[in-house]
Structure formats: C-alpha cells, structure tokens
Symmetry: D2
Subunit: 249 residues, 4 copies
Amino acid sequence: MKTHLAGSDAASIRFRGRDLVEELIGKHGFTEVFYLLAVGRMPEPGQTRVLDACLVTLMDHGWTPTSMIARLAYDSAPSQVQVGIAAGLLAVGDVFAGTMDGCARLLAEGIAKEDKAAWCQEVVQAHRAAKKPMPGFGHPFHKPDDPRPPRLFRVAQEAGMKGDYIALLQQLGRTVDAVYGRHLTINATGALAALLLEIGMPLAIMRGVSVVSRSAGLTAHIAEEQQNPTARHIWKLVEEEIPYEDPPA
Amino acid sequence: MKTHLAGSDAASIRFRGRDLVEELIGKHGFTEVFYLLAVGRMPEPGQTRVLDACLVTLMDHGWTPTSMIARLAYDSAPSQVQVGIAAGLLAVGDVFAGTMDGCARLLAEGIAKEDKAAWCQEVVQAHRAAKKPMPGFGHPFHKPDDPRPPRLFRVAQEAGMKGDYIALLQQLGRTVDAVYGRHLTINATGALAALLLEIGMPLAIMRGVSVVSRSAGLTAHIAEEQQNPTARHIWKLVEEEIPYEDPPA
Amino acid sequence: MKTHLAGSDAASIRFRGRDLVEELIGKHGFTEVFYLLAVGRMPEPGQTRVLDACLVTLMDHGWTPTSMIARLAYDSAPSQVQVGIAAGLLAVGDVFAGTMDGCARLLAEGIAKEDKAAWCQEVVQAHRAAKKPMPGFGHPFHKPDDPRPPRLFRVAQEAGMKGDYIALLQQLGRTVDAVYGRHLTINATGALAALLLEIGMPLAIMRGVSVVSRSAGLTAHIAEEQQNPTARHIWKLVEEEIPYEDPPA
Amino acid sequence: MKTHLAGSDAASIRFRGRDLVEELIGKHGFTEVFYLLAVGRMPEPGQTRVLDACLVTLMDHGWTPTSMIARLAYDSAPSQVQVGIAAGLLAVGDVFAGTMDGCARLLAEGIAKEDKAAWCQEVVQAHRAAKKPMPGFGHPFHKPDDPRPPRLFRVAQEAGMKGDYIALLQQLGRTVDAVYGRHLTINATGALAALLLEIGMPLAIMRGVSVVSRSAGLTAHIAEEQQNPTARHIWKLVEEEIPYEDPPA
C-alpha cells in the first residue's frame, strides 16, 4: 500500500512525483497545484482558467447557512479560526453549495448516449412525472435567468474546452422549457457541473471544489466578523423572534 | 449593521463592490478573489504571486493528523465529502499546520522597533531562558535546513515585495544561531509568516490561509482514498498495535 | 414561531414546561431529562431503564474511526477538548455507529402490517434478491451470535416494554435464517433499533442517541490519550506502513 | 502500548475490565458507565447523583450559538443528524458552555493552600487589579442570584460529598463581594466546577462533561427543528437585518 500524493525526506518534499521547492513553489499557482494533487496531472492552461472560474463563482453567497454557522462558531472559539471555518463547511451538503453532484451525475450519464435528444426527453419527463426538481435548473431568486451560467460557458469556450457537456446541458435546458411549457434557467450549479466535467474533475470529489472555494469565503466572513461582529446580534434577533413558550398541556 | 462581502439581487451578484459576473469570473483567479474577499482590496500581481506560493507550500504534507482524520471520516460518511474535509481541517490547530500565528506575532511586534538587533537579542534570550521553542525555527526532520524558506524568500523578492519582514526574520535567525551556539533552520512556518505579513494578510486570519490550502490537499486525499482505500487498513493496524487489556487491578 | 425546549428569565430556567431548578436538578437523572427534552414527555421508569441500556451499549467500541479521529484531533488542538470529541462524532455516520436507522425503518414499516409472516418473507427475499445486507443482521466478528441482543431484550422485558418491535425483529430473524439457509445473528444495531422503538424514540433522531452515547466514550478516549498518548505513535505507524512513492510514469 | 477502555473478542465485550453484557447493560445507567469509562472506576451512588445533576444543568439553554449552529447545519445535511450535533458542539468553547475549566483551575489551586482566606484575598485582588472577570462569578441575566448554584450545592450535600471545593467557592464568593464592594453571584459554571471536582472528575476532561450533556440538548433541538423548522426563518431574518452594501470607496 502506497500513497502517491506527498512525501518528504530530509532535503526535499515531493507532490505527485514533482519536487515542491524546485518545480512548484513560485512556478505554479494554487489552482494548478490543487488540480495536480486532486486529479493527478498538471492541468492545461485552459483547464486552470476554467477551474479558477468555478472556484471564484462558488466562493461566497453572502448570508447562507455556511456563513452564519462560521461566524457563530468563530465567536465561540475565537482563538481557533479553523473551527469556525470547518463548522461552516459542514453545511456544504446535500441542500446548499454541495449540490453540483446531481447535475453532474445526469450529464455524465447522458454524454454516453447516442441519441441525446431522446435521452433529454426521457430524463426531463421522468423528473416531471416524479415531481422531482431537475438538478441544475431553476433559481428562487435569479429570474428569468441566473447571470452566471452564460459567463461561465463563455469562459470555457474561450479557454478552448471541447464543450460537449455544456452543449448537453443546454440541450437539456431547451427540453426542460419545452416539456414544462415555461422557461427554467440553467443555474450556477448546473453550469459548474458541466464545466468541472469539461476539465476532467472526477464526479466523486466535485463537492471538494465547493469546499475549497467556500473555505476562502468563510475566511473572509471571519475577517469581517473580527472587524464588525454580528454573532451576538444574530443571537439576540433569534431569541426575540422565536421565544420560548411552555409546551401546550 | 451591514456586510460588505457579498450580496445579490435578481440580476447580479456583488463581491466587495464588484460585479461577480462582469468583473471577476474569467478575469481574476481564485487566489486574487480570495485576497479581495479576505483583505478587502484586489491584490497587486506580486502579492498574488506570493499568496500563491504560500498556498502551494501548505497544501499537503502527506500523512499528517489532517489527512488521517479526513480519510477515516470520509470512510464513515462516504456520501458526504465535505464531512471528511471539515473533520480533517479541525486538526489545523495550535500544534500543526495552523502555527504561523506565533512567528507572525513576533515579527509584527519587532517590525515597529527602532533597534532591531537589540529586540532580536531580547526575544531570543527570553525564549531561551524560558526554554520555549522559538516560533518559526527548527524542524524535526529537515536538517540542517528546511528547503522551503530560501525558495519562498526568492519568490517574494522576485515579486517585488519590500522585504522588511523577511529581513527581520533572517536577522532573528542569525541571532538564534549566535545565542543558541548552533544552527537552527528557519522553517516553512516562519517563512510563510513573513511572506503573509509582506502582502498585508491580517494576522488574525492568517490561519485561514492554512485552512484554505489544506482543504485542497484533503480533497486530494479523499480522491486517493476513493481509488486506493487505506482507512480500514489503518484501523486494523491500530487495533493490532495498541490492543485492549483489562486495567491493572 | 416558538421553541418549547428551554428558556429563562432572571429568576428561573424552564425545560419543556418544567422548572429546571425546582423540578429537575437532583430529582431526575440525565437519561430521564434527555428523554424529556428529545421526546417531549418525562419517561416511565421502564423507558428510562431501556434508554440507559441502549446508551450504555453504544458508549464505546475501543478502536473505531470515531476514537482514532478523536484522539488525532485532540492531539492537534489539546486546549479544545470539544474539537476532538466533535471531530470523532462526525464519523457516527451511515457506515458505523449511526446505523440503527435502517433496521428501525424496517421495523416501523412492518409493525403496521396485518400479516407479519408474509411481510417478513417479502422483506428478506427482496434483500436477498438485491444482494443487499439485511439491516440489523450479521456481525463480522461476533459469531455465531452477538452477545448484546439477548441481554437487551431481557432488559426490555424486565422493564415492562410491550415487546412488539422485539418480537417482530425476532420473527424477521427466524425468516432470515430460513431464507438464507444459515444462521445470521441479530446484531446490536438491530436490537437497539427495536428497543428505541419500544420506548417511542422517534426514528428521525435515533442517530442522536448514538451521538450522545458515543460522546461519553470519546471523552474517555481523550482522558486516556492525556495519560497515555497514542496519536503520534499512530501517525508513525501509518507513515511507515503506507509510504509515499512517486506515481508510476 | 495498550488501551484499557474497551475491547472485544467473538463472545464478549469489555469496558475497563468489566463484561459489558454481564456486568453493565441493565445493571448500571448511562451516568455511571460514563464515569467508569472516563475516570476509571465505578462511581459511588452519591457521585452518580452529583454527576447527573451536573449533566442535567448543562443540557440546554434554549437559543445559544450551539443550538443555532446545530439547527442550521441540520437543515443543510438533513440525512446526517450527527453533522448538526457535531457542528453545534464545536461551539462548546472558551466563551460559552465550555468554561468550567477556569473556575476549576482556581479551585484546584486553592484547595492545596493552608491559609485559604489569604489565598482568596490574593486571587480576587489580582483579578480585580488586572480587570479580569473572576471565573465562576457574575451573570448577565440572572440577578441578583443565579438560581442553580444553591440547588446544586444542596444536591452535593445530600449526596454526601465532602464539600471542600464548595466551601472554598463560597469563601471565594464572600471575598469577591467584600473586595468588589457589591454582590456578584456564584454562577452555574462556578458551581459545576466545584461539584465536578468533588466527584473527582479530572480537570483536563471537565469540558467533556459539557459536551456530553449538550449533545443531548442538541438532539432535542434537531427533533424540534424536524417538527417546526426555524433555520430558513433565521436565515431570512439575518439577511433582512444585516444587508449587503458595497464597501465605502
């Protein structure tokens, strides 16, 4: 049993067969080395650009469970910045922020189909019949269209990606509109799933990309909390708004 | 009470006063936007290069508490990649990986002193007298010298950093050698503290840089664990090596 | 919107409509008040006895992912005992320790059936056909029989439980043996699921019982780690046993 | 290297030298076995009663960082009850809920002094001069007196505790009132520190008692959240109350 990620001896440190000091520090950026470690090969420049776009998109969304939790946990353990961030990251789950998997799983299935139009029909009809939301579609707030997907698609195109997953997502989008009889936007989650598949990020660790990106956003939330504390105010708000009452007899 | 980090309306999303879609995605990389969110201004290109070097350096160290925990926790909740990563990040603490603060606090104090030589003497003597390790110095393994600091200093110099914190750390290093009567290497922790101070990263969230970087490494550990599981083997090893025995009567 | 769990004013603190100081402290034990808070009513003495038996059973299993993680995380943040415990609890998941839900879900379904024999046949046949393990049955280690279920059933009987869930689990057990053509033990997970249903613990928070119980065990692991540290030794073991190697070209 | 906590073979499971099935399940309650595992010996009945009183006191405090975090994290990962609880427990830190250590450390120091009156004077004067709060004294809300300590002291007395730590805390309280020239209540944290010292709970894992107790309260919060969700409402409240605004130029 071996690990191929990182090891060291007295004089050198190696990451995936490369010398950290001689070949990586100062020569490759964070995004490249993240890809190298996670995927196992150095990315092409276009892949780096796409991964950067994904990481930037996911970095923060203002007030979310992740940021509220991080600030509350930080306020309880202010000497331990990592505790606030890690507590917040636990909310990158099946409901928010960690939800690219669903759409990516669909796209990874559809890409192998000969007749994509038929597959799109089938998938959308099945979701509609089961009253399940189509992963990667719809947004409670950004209507009629989420502004991020078109920009992300353009970045991928300019970066020279092949575009098959994006095309499939867009074809799925046209089918969604036709089958539901109204326009449902492709959302950021859907677009990110397509882009990460374009660059060969394995589905099984896609949620890790959200986690890395959000850890940066949560660091910023803690920095702001240090300057302008909100945690005690949030606490007071909640106490006033949802008071205790003896249970009904 | 306001937040200045991120907000959105139906048509746009803003990060620190900039439009995410128009101004950031595809135009600035992860490292730049992390700095923008955490520090509050877009970094100079040289600052980005230095932050990238720091993030790359910290990304992984092979087998550490962080990576063992992440793999064990992943194996227990394989549908929840974020749980494995967050569990591992909880070990970026006062002992490993989260230890730049100590050296950074020293350097931030010393930089304000007129007579740096006197301050260095005083600090090193005080640590020696109290038998406390000098933060940022020594390495159990990389002897006589940690290979990372010289490379990190060169990156900072090439990136046009002013270099005051680095010079102070080096002066502290010469004093350490003189006072202890033997050579103690500046370690990666010390060098990273100096570099992060050079780029204006606030001391109070410096540990967040370790967390962000290590979250990328832990994603890679989970990717490798998915391919070549080690968690059950580690468990068996520990059970065999540290068996249960009834307590002595 | 209200909460009915706990609230206070200057002179008193209330838990679920009772005065903490006058009615609970010194008058009811931990197990009773846990039930009161989680289920919403004070337990009958027999229910307390059964819940105590469940909590004792789950408290520890020696070396497991939970205990290894807790000790490693504690060693990294020794000033923060809660971090070690919480990190370990993250591994009370779908794979180990948090697995009563599956069997409990089956039993909650079967209890409503008129013809229990037919339902048992159907369920066991379906699991067998799908090659899915029967939740609550089998043990890698305790063969032919897990010693805990008979004891747990006896406690429940002596405590005056009605016994319908236990009887159903036992009937399922006989069906398992007949359908598989060999004896598969009812395991502790299965028995605990039945007992917790007997006392009216809601399925949706059953895993919380594991968490509470295991938090006590992990406190003990950290106490032992403080006396006889193992974390560094585990680390060394893993490093030696699973060395780094450059990836194959 | 050995562990003395728990181990098993095919036919039996042992906790600290006792057979789980034959000697513990159904014969000893959760509180007793928690003490057995953590402290290493079976408690006296009076010690169990005192530990129960401590565990009940700490179980919940309504809206606190722990409960807000647990509910928000649960809402983000509803299939993983342990994630909500563990996230909440991370806030049992140096600021709330995990704060008995400070007072316990004082009492453990004072108990060894010959002249307790002189020691009390010295300690209280030193805290006052340094403008540091006296650990275990004062309450923002329960004025003039926290109702829990008198009840806890009575439980300890009735349970036959020796009472030296309690007497010392009370003597410290009289000194506090004299030195500060006004009445500061002994708070629950102080009283719990004294009681846990009375029963021989090691200072180094005292915070574990809070964690165990609070894990029960958080299970109840998640149960209530499942019935009457608050997380989305809290989110909306915070968004409305602390809106995003572009940073000042």
